[in-house]
C-alpha cells in the first residue's frame, strides 16, 4: 500500500482486495455492542473539509473513533481559510499539530496531491473537485461484493453526470482493477470528450444497457447543469436517463441499484426504486464507515504509535 490514498488508480488489485477483506473483518466490530478497537490509540486524524459534506465527514469521524484515534474536525467555513489562508499554510499548521493522517475534502481537483507534498502524514482523499473520491468507490465495491459475491466479470452500469463526477472516475478505475466490466451511460454532454480512452464501455442508451446489468449505479445530477446547456430540462433528463419503475423492471431480477447520495428523488431515481429491497443505498452508508476504518487501519496501523 502507498502511504496515501488519493486516487483509486493507485491501488493495485492486491491492495484493493486487502482493503475489502480488512473491511469484512472490521464489519463484525460494527455489529458488537461496544464498537471500538484500540488500534489507533494515540494517533491523530484530522478531517479537513473545505466543502460542506456532513455525511462523508461523520463517516470518517466514526471510522477513526471506532479505531480509538483522536479526531480533529477542521471545517474551512468560518476559519482562517475563509480569511484567505492558503492551503499550504493550513497544511503546515496541521503538520505542526502532529496529524498522522489528514482526510481532505476540497472543491479543487488535485488539492490532495498538493497537500501530500506539504505534510508528512498520510493523506486520504475524501473527494477533490471533479476528480476522485476513492473511499466511495471502495465502499461501493464492498457493497457490491457483499450482495453479489465476487466482482470478476460483473457488469456495472454507471448512469449520470460522469463529466463532473468524482464518484464515477474512482469507480471506473477501481472496478476495472477488480475485474468488473463498467459501462457509462449519460447524455454526450455529460461525458468527457476523452472518455473513449477510459477502461470502460460507453452508451447513450440506458434502456439497451439495463437488461445486461448486474449493478446499476445512479449518479446525482445537479439541476443547475441545465443552465449551462448540458441538458434541456429536468423532465427531459429524467425521461431519458432516470431510473423509474418501468426501467427498473427491465433489470435482471437479481441486479442491484446503487446511489452515492444525496439523491434527487424523482429526478435520476424514482422513490420506489430507491427504497426497494434491491437498493443498497442505506447499506452503502453503513459500509462507508467500515471501509474507512479499513483504510485508516491499513494506512496508519502498520506504524508504531
Amino acid at each position: 500500500m502507498n502511504r496515501h490514498l488519493i486516487s483509486a488508480g493507485d491501488l493495485a488489485k492486491d491492495d484493493a482486495l486487502l482493503i475489502l477483506d480488512t473491511a469484512e473483518e472490521l464489519a463484525s466490530v460494527s455489529e458488537r455492542s461496544i464498537k471500538k478497537l484500540p488500534t489507533l490509540r494515540g494517533r491523530t486524524v484530522v478531517n479537513l473539509f473545505f466543502e460542506d459534506s456532513t455525511r462523508t465527514r461523520i463517516s470518517f469521524e466514526a471510522a477513526a473513533k471506532r479505531l480509538s484515534a483522536d479526531v480533529i474536525n477542521f471545517s474551512a467555513k468560518g476559519s482562517s481559510v475563509s480569511k484567505g489562508e492558503s492551503l499550504k499554510d493550513t497544511a503546515l499548521t496541521l503538520e505542526a499539530m502532529g496529524a498522522d493522517a489528514v482526510v481532505i475534502r476540497h472543491g479543487s481537483s488535485g488539492a490532495p496531491h498538493r497537500l501530500a507534498t506539504w505534510v508528512h502524514g498520510s493523506v486520504v482523499n475524501a473527494g477533490d473537485g471533479t476528480h476522485e473520491h476513492p473511499t466511495q468507490a471502495l465502499l461501493d465495491a464492498f457493497s457490491m461484493r457483499r450482495r453479489l459475491g465476487g466482482l470478476e466479470g460483473r457488469k456495472v452500469t454507471i448512469v449520470g453526470d460522469v463529466l463532473h463526477s468524482r464518484v464515477a472516475r474512482s469507480n471506473v478505475l477501481l472496478l476495472h482493477t477488480l475485474g468488473a466490466e463498467v459501462t457509462l451511460v449519460a447524455p454526450p454532454t455529460l461525458l468527457p470528450v476523452s472518455v473513449g480512452s477510459w477502461p470502460c464501455e460507453v452508451s447513450y442508451d440506458l434502456d439497451a444497457v439495463l437488461p445486461k446489468s448486474d449493478v446499476v449505479m445512479m449518479l446525482r445530477v445537479q439541476k443547475e447543469r441545465m443552465n449551462a446547456a448540458y441538458f434541456p430540462s429536468e423532465r427531459e433528463y429524467s425521461r431519458r436517463y432516470g431510473l423509474d419503475r418501468d426501467r427498473f423492471a427491465k433489470m435482471p431480477d437479481d441486479a442491484i441499484v446503487m446511489h452515492p447520495g444525496p439523491m434527487n428523488r424523482g429526478m435520476e431515481i424514482a422513490a420506489e426504486v430507491a427504497d426497494s429491497a434491491r437498493s443498497t443505498i442505506v447499506e452503502q452508508v453503513a459500509n462507508g464507515v467500515t471501509i474507512r476504518m479499513a483504510v485508516l487501519y491499513l494506512l496508519l496501523g502498520g506504524e508504531s504509535a
Partner: protein
C-alpha cells in the same frame, strides 16, 4: 572595441569591430582596440521578444521593468515588447510612456510597450490607439493579451484603425464562452484529472475568424502564442491566400506537453505547468515545431509571465497562469529546433530577432550582423549543458517549468548598441 573569435550564425571564426554602437568591420584577425574574447561562441543578432510581461506598474512583487529587462539581457535579448495587462492597464499614452522611460533609464535592453486594444482590457471600447502610437513610446503593437478581443465588430475596427500608423493587433485567441473556468488542455489528461478543459477549438475558431476579418479589411494580424495543430493548419491556409498574417509560438509550447500536469518530477497538479493557452499534446508540439521550421509560424515569443511564489504554491484551480521564459528561451529553442535538425542558427536568428523586429516595426533591431548595422549582438555557447536552477535567474519570479531539467546552451554575452549588458553570463 573588438569582439574576438566568434562564429556569426555558426559560421567560420571572425572578429567584430564596433565603433559608436555600430558594427564597423567584420573579418578574421582584426587589429587593435579593447578586446572581448568570444571564445568561439556563436554570434546572433540581439534577440527581440514580441511578448513579455514586465508587470510594472502594479505587480512589482512579481517583476519590474528593471528585473525583467535584466532577465531579458541574460537571455540574450536586446529588445522586448512589454504587454499591456498591467495595473493600471497600458491603455493611455501616459502609461506606455512611463514603461518606455523606465526601460530607457535602466538600459538593459530596449523596452517597447504594447498598447491595450480596448480600455481596461474590457473589450468594450477602443483605447486611444493613436495617442499611444504618437507618444514618445511610438507604440506599434496593440494587444489585450490575457484576454481575447472576442467582439467581432471591435476586432474589425481595431484591425482597420491601426492601419493609419502601420500598427498591428496581436490577438490572444480564446473564445471566452468555450473556456469558462478552463484549467488545462481538454483531452485525455483533463478527463482523467477532472480539470475543466480548454478545448483547441476555442483558439482555432477565433484565429479563423480573425484571419477572415484581416483579409476583409486588408489589415495585418499577429496571432499570439499559437498552441494547437489545428491553429497551424488555419494559419497555413490563410497565408496561402497571401493575407498579411504573422504568428508566434512560445518556447514552452515547443517542448512541454499536458501530461506533465498528471505526471512530473514535481508532482501531479503542480501549477508550475499552468499556463494560458495551456500545454497541449505531443502531436501539437510536433505540428508547432514543423510550422516554425517551415515559416507558417513566423517567430518565437516568450510570453514571459512572472508570478510570485504564493500565486503558484496553491491548489491547481487557485493558481495563476503563466511561466517565466526569457532566460531559457534560446536554450529551449536549441533543444526543440536545432538539436532536432529543424533549424540552423540562421533560422533561429530570423525567428528570434529579424522577424519579431519587423513585426514590431523596430528599425534598429533585428538587423543582420554586418558592417553598418547597430551592434546588437548575442554571443551563445551551444555546447554548454546546464541544470535549470530558478534561483540563478535575474527575474524576480521563480515560476520556471524547466526546474531540474538539463538544457543545452548558455548566453555568454549580450551587446546593446555596442555596450555590453551581459559578459561571461553575468549582468554588467
Amino acid at each position: 572595441m573588438k569582439i574576438r573569435n566568434v562564429r556569426i550564425l555558426g559560421g567560420e571564426p571572425v572578429d567584430i569591430r564596433i565603433a559608436d554602437g555600430v558594427i564597423a568591420e567584420i573579418g578574421p584577425g582584426l587589429e587593435g582596440g579593447e578586446v572581448v574574447d568570444g571564445g568561439g561562441a556563436i554570434a546572433l543578432p540581439g534577440l527581440v521578444d514580441l511578448h513579455t510581461h514586465l508587470r510594472e506598474p502594479g505587480r512589482e512583487d512579481a517583476e519590474t521593468v528593471q528585473t525583467g529587462t535584466q532577465s531579458a539581457a541574460r537571455g540574450g535579448y536586446t529588445a522586448v515588447h512589454a504587454m499591456a495587462n498591467t495595473s493600471p492597464v497600458a491603455d493611455t499614452a501616459g502609461v506606455v510612456e512611463q514603461v518606455w522611460r523606465l526601460g530607457r533609464e535602466f538600459g538593459h535592453c530596449d523596452v517597447h510597450p504594447v498598447g491595450a486594444v480596448t480600455v481596461g482590457l474590457e473589450g468594450r471600447q477602443l483605447a486611444e490607439l493613436g495617442a499611444m502610437a504618437d507618444s514618445a513610446a511610438r507604440v506599434r503593437v496593440f494587444s489585450d493579451d490575457g484576454k481575447c478581443v472576442d467582439d467581432a465588430v471591435l476586432m474589425r475596427r481595431a484591425l482597420e484603425y491601426v492601419k493609419a500608423f502601420d500598427g498591428v493587433v496581436a490577438q490572444h485567441a480564446q473564445e471566452p464562452r468555450l473556456t469558462a473556468g478552463a484549467q488545462m488542455n481538454e483531452g485525455v489528461v483533463s478527463g482523467r484529472l477532472g480539470l475543466t478543459g480548454w478545448p483547441a477549438v476555442a483558439e482555432e475558431a477565433v484565429i479563423a475568424r480573425d484571419c477572415l476579418l484581416a483579409a476583409h479589411v486588408g489589415s495585418r494580424l499577429h496571432v499570439c502564442h499559437v498552441s494547437t495543430a489545428g491553429s497551424v493548419e488555419i494559419i497555413r491556409w490563410a497565408k496561402s491566400k497571401g493575407w498579411n498574417i504573422t504568428a508566434e509560438v512560445t518556447p514552452h509550447h515547443l517542448l512541454l506537453t499536458d501530461d506533465l500536469v498528471e505526471e512530473s518530477p514535481v508532482g501531479a497538479y503542480n501549477p508550475i505547468y499552468k499556463v494560458n493557452p495551456p500545454l497541449r499534446t505531443r502531436a501539437d508540439v510536433e505540428a508547432l515545431r514543423a510550422a516554425l521550421a517551415d515559416g507558417t509560424i513566423d517567430i518565437v515569443a516568450t510570453d514571459h509571465a512572472p508570478h510570485p511564489v504564493e500565486d503558484k504554491e496553491t491548489e491547481w484551480s487557485a493558481a495563476a497562469m503563466g511561466m517565466i521564459g526569457l532566460e531559457t528561451a534560446l536554450s529551449v529553442v536549441q533543444e526543440a529546433m536545432v538539436e532536432t535538425g529543424l533549424l540552423d542558427w540562421a533560422g533561429v536568428a530570423e525567428r528570434m530577432s529579424a522577424v519579431p523586429a519587423r513585426i514590431g516595426r523596430l528599425a534598429g533591431q533585428g538587423r543582420p550582423l554586418e558592417a553598418g548595422s547597430p551592434a546588437n549582438i548575442t554571443l551563445y555557447d551551444p555546447s554548454a549543458r546546464t541544470e535549470v536552477d530558478p534561483w540563478a535567474y535575474a527575474s524576480k519570479s521563480r515560476n520556471t517549468p524547466y526546474e531540474g531539467m538539463t538544457l543545452p546552451g548558455r548566453v555568454v554575452a549580450t551587446f546593446l548598441r555596442g555596450r555590453p549588458t551581459v559578459l561571461e553570463g553575468k549582468l554588467v
